[in-house]
């Protein structure tokens, strides 16, 4: 069998730089995209802000200084103060924690539930599929913001409930995504191969189908974090999300609506924070899509 091995290694080695897994490969191509990295830096910035910001933020978020109400940005209050005389910068920093947690937690919840339902529907098919898919159809036919409002109305306003509502309205999106992904992976040849070596269904599901359907979920998840932050802000704006004195950005926006003309900084900075964070997730989501979804690669 001498001819099978010789001289091959030189070529093989030339082609393969390092031992790289598919994830690391994706990371490499992700890193190459400037916008994606920019998005990641924005997110990282806010994440660090959320983690460490409260430690360095000059003042507590709830210290009311009636004398310093509605101060414009200055060297003392970099982003000015709100109508309680609270430092807006401090509140934005603390708000990062809220917005990011709502974004992440709600998406994680909907990914977990959605994936579970999607996998069950996609893999087992038949009546489970019918029931689950129909339920998704029903949920998707609702205008999502109305559905969220209705859910929050049932549960009562508050950050946790807003989070739950956002998680619920996102479930069908992930469920459908996973279901279709499972359906297509089910037809892939390596699934056939796994069956052919005598593998059991459960193992095929968890060791083959699940990991391979994760890429679009991660992409979708990143983008969904962005949407979730916006939705939380919208609910906050309607007074159905975070409650006083939580410095949630959407609520800060709503609270400062009437100062748009007299004290514009109270509304511009929270708005900008939302926009930047969401932009960060969107940028990163795009980058991830290019990195993880080879179909979109040029």
């Amino acid at each position: 069998m001498s001819e099978l091995t010789p001289k091959m290694d030189g070529i093989v080695e030339a082609e393969i730089e390092r031992t790289t897994g598919p994830w690391r490969e994706a990371w490499r191509s992700f890193r190459k995209s400037k916008v994606a990295v920019a998005g990641m830096i924005i997110i990282l910035f806010f994440v660090l802000l959320a983690i460490f910001g409260p430690l360095i933020a000059k003042e507590g978020i709830n210290e009311q200084m009636a004398a310093d109400r509605l101060q414009p940005p200055s060297s003392e209050y970099w982003l000015g103060t709100d109508d309680f005389g609270r430092d807006i910068l401090s509140r934005i920093i603390h708000g990062a924690r809220i917005s990011l947690s709502v974004g992440f937690l709600s998406v994680i919840a909907s990914v977990v539930v959605g994936s579970f339902l999607g996998i069950v529907a996609g893999y087992y098919g038949r009546w489970t599929d019918t029931i689950i898919s129909r339920t998704f159809d029903i949920m998707l036919a609702f205008p999502s913001i109305l559905l969220a409002i209705a859910i929050v109305s049932v549960l009562g306003p508050g950050l946790e409930n807003a989070l739950i509502a956002i998680a619920i309205i996102n479930v069908p999106n992930f469920g459908r995504l996973i279901r279709s992904k499972v359906l297509s992976i089910k037809e892939d040849e390596y699934i056939m191969a796994a069956k052919a070596i005598g593998m059991k269904d459960a193992r095929i599901l968890f060791s083959h189908i699940l990991p391979n359907s994760m890429a679009p979920v991660i992409v979708q998840g990143t983008l969904a974090v962005a949407t979730a932050i916006l939705e939380a802000a919208a609910l906050g704006f309607l007074g159905l999300g975070a409650q006083a004195p939580q410095p949630e950005w959407g609520k800060m926006l709503a609270d400062s609506k009437s100062y748009l003309q007299s004290a514009p900084w109270t509304m511009i900075f929270p708005g900008l924070s939302i926009m930047l964070t969401v932009l960060g997730f969107n940028l990163m989501g795009d980058g991830l899509r290019d990195a993880l979804d080879p179909k979109m690669k040029n």
Partner: protein, 340 residues
């Protein structure tokens, strides 16, 4: 045969893809010509640059990331490189036409056959009425052996079988009587019985219309049955060029030789196939020396250091191998090769 005029000359063509993972010289200093009315084959394994060569001639290299980075393509005395998009459009379809590998995807699925054919005609026959163009389209469809040609005009591509679609593609390509037809693996996606039909059609058309054909394939059988002259490509380069008969009777490059021997022959059962070890390198992955050296059993030191040129070994036969370097230094490799 040699008296026929060279209608297409490709000199020192280089096409490079500028990708994230580096520059890929997909076509690396290629030089060949096509004579009026001949069928020239380009063979080579996957990724060796056959399609890029043909797209370069058409000025259709996907850009970005691809770009023609050097050389000239002379058609009818005119260098196509550097022509404006508008001038190039005049040439495409009119003088040089092209058909592609996948008949399933090469026709726009959302337009009828008639629509697409008429479009092709009207693009170059300014002032023709649609009616006239339709008549011409039907004529062409009949020419390529499609039954019910007029009804076919109203059909969508998906209503046709693969073989029929490839015939439509050919008809559409020939609609303006081009001088050159470039066919990029036109039968690879088809079943053998259908492949036989299409190849026969192409030979007939070449006979009757005198269209020169540049036939790209990886199937040596197709080359043997169809082409007058063959170019063998490897990793972006031409490594051998000769009339078909010569290539099969007296292959010179070790790669060509290996390739021919690798093909299982339907006529005789061999115990064991000859095989070329190693993998086909991507263009650009071999930085120095002969692209084939790593897989070559006759390789010697020089092969790993310098890239050989195309040596003319006979009037009509060229090979890119140091074994045919006139000023060659005798070596073990050479001896072994000659003896083999």
């Amino acid at each position: 045969m040699n008296e026929r005029k060279k209608i297409l000359e490709v000199n020192d063509l280089q096409t490079t893809f500028f990708t994230d993972s580096g520059n890929v010289p997909a076509v690396d200093h290629i030089e060949f010509h096509l004579r009026d009315g001949e069928i020239l084959g380009i063979v080579g394994e996957s990724g060796c640059g056959k399609s890029v060569t043909s797209l370069s001639v058409m000025g259709l290299v996907p850009s970005p990331p691809g770009k023609i980075t050097g050389g000239e393509i002379v058609y009818n005395g005119r260098n196509l490189i550097g022509l404006s998009e508008k001038e190039m459009r005049q040439i495409r379809g009119n003088d040089i036409a092209m058909i592609f590998q996948e008949p399933m995807t090469s026709l726009n699925p959302l337009f009828t056959i008639g629509n697409q054919m008429v479009e092709a005609i009207l693009l170059h026959e300014k002032g023709w009425s649609k009616k006239k163009a339709e008549v011409r389209a039907i004529e062409m469809l009949k020419l390529v052996g499609l039954p019910r040609a007029d009804a076919l005009l109203k059909d969508y591509p998906h209503q046709l079988s693969g073989g029929m679609r490839q015939r439509v593609m050919i008809a559409m390509a020939l609609v303006c009587n081009p001088r050159i037809l470039i066919a990029d693996e036109p039968t690879t996606a088809l079943d053998v019985t259908i492949q036989a039909q299409i190849l026969k059609l192409m030979r007939d058309l070449n006979d009757r219309l005198g269209t020169a054909i540049l036939l790209i394939t990886h199937d040596l059988g197709v080359v043997a049955e169809t082409c007058e002259r063959v170019i063998v490509m490897y990793a972006g380069q031409i490594i051998e060029e000769a009339p078909t008969k010569l290539i099969f009777e007296d292959p010179q490059h070790p790669y060509t030789k290996g390739l021919i021997q690798s093909v299982p022959d339907m006529r005789i059962k061999k115990d064991r196939l000859h095989s070329i070890p190693g993998n086909v390198p991507k263009p650009g992955s071999v930085k120095s020396g002969c692209r084939f050296a790593a897989r070559c059993e006759f390789a010697f030191d020089r092969c790993f250091q310098e890239n050989p040129e195309l040596y003319e070994t006979a009037d009509v036969h060229q090979t890119r191998c140091f074994l045919y370097d006139e000023g060659r230094v005798k070596s073990d490799g050479h001896k072994a090769f000659i003896e083999s």
